[in-house]
């Protein structure tokens, strides 16, 4: 697919024009991504939710299923953890263990958890373990 970016003249409105012969699945995904404006699609049973990343405390994979933990609800995502990780790249989310992506802005405090690991207590009083091998990434993000 060819992507063309044109500079606008003064006073012209910003717009996205899609030129295609037919709406393919790829195009539909791109459109969904544009419409969602950074929101993630998650499910609660048969209900579909659009959820902003800032509402999510952490994302965890349990038995190959991906769950988004919010303040008062847990939703399921059809996306894999690595897909969400790349979607949330450059945000407050950081991989803190093999199965968890943590929203750093939701951390209330941190304490040691033996063997170079740390335990993050979140705003909703849940606790998440930060694995030793990911502590380096956390230090880098926080400029330590």
């Amino acid at each position: 697919m060819k992507i063309v970016i044109e500079e606008l003249q003064d006073g012209e409105e910003e717009r996205i024009i899609i030129k295609c012969r037919e709406m393919s699945d790829e195009l539909l995904r791109v459109l969904a991504l544009l419409k969602s404006q950074g929101a993630l699609i998650a499910y609660d049973g048969n209900e579909i939710h659009r959820i902003q990343p800032k509402e999510i405390y952490y994302i965890e994979v349990v038995d190959n299923r991906t769950f988004l933990y919010c303040a008062d609800k847990v939703l399921e995502s059809k996306q894999k953890l690595y897909e969400l990780e790349s979607c949330l790249f450059n945000s407050d989310f950081l991989r803190v263990s093999k199965s968890v992506l943590l929203n750093l802005s939701k951390i209330k405090s941190m304490s040691p958890a033996l063997n170079g690991r740390f335990e993050a207590t979140l705003g909703n009083h849940e606790k998440v373990i930060i694995s030793r091998q990911y502590v380096r990434d956390l230090k880098k993000i926080l400029g330590i």
Binding site: K98, L104, S111, P112, L114, N115, I129, S131, I144
Partner: protein, 143 residues
């Protein structure tokens, strides 16, 4: 602790244990056997003991990330297992006469001191890092 992390920990610990064992043996002999001489076999046995005690770290193996309490529980099991391994090998290789209470006492005391020192240093470093992480998090999300 997953397999990768466990292997890294075991690799690091091997050298810590070897250093600890050498230091303990030096102090032990200085107190009880100042005339002692070490053979090539003894050096091999020190390395072997480090390898055996290193295996006790398998207690921490878990496919899932262990919580704080689970970790403390496993550490509580780890210490007696370590003591049992060390005492068994020391007795078998005649480093300690298990029939002499004072020898066993000094040997175990030295072991516990080394264990406590290693734990204390690690805990201090982790606490310091946790404080820095908390400070940085507060600064980053202050607004």
């Amino acid at each position: 602790m997953n397999a990768e992390e466990l292997l890294k920990t075991m690799f690091r610990s091997f050298f810590v244990i070897t250093t600890g064992a050498l230091t303990s043996m030096f102090v032990f002999c200085l107190i009880l056997y100042p005339e002692a001489r070490f053979t090539l076999h003894d050096i091999g046995r020190i390395l072997l003991m480090a390898a055996f005690t290193d295996l006790a770290f398998l207690i921490f193996y878990s496919g899932k990330e262990l919580g704080k309490k689970q970790m403390y529980l496993r550490q509580a099991v780890h210490l007696p297992v370590l003591l049992a391994i060390v005492l068994y090998l020391a007795g078998r290789w005649d480093w300690v006469n298990l029939n002499r209470v004072n020898e066993v006492f000094v040997f175990l005391s030295l072991f516990l001191v080394v264990y406590a020192v290693v734990c204390a240093i690690t805990a201090y470093q982790d606490k310091k890092l946790a404080d820095r992480l908390n400070r940085s998090l507060r600064e980053r999300y202050r607004s």
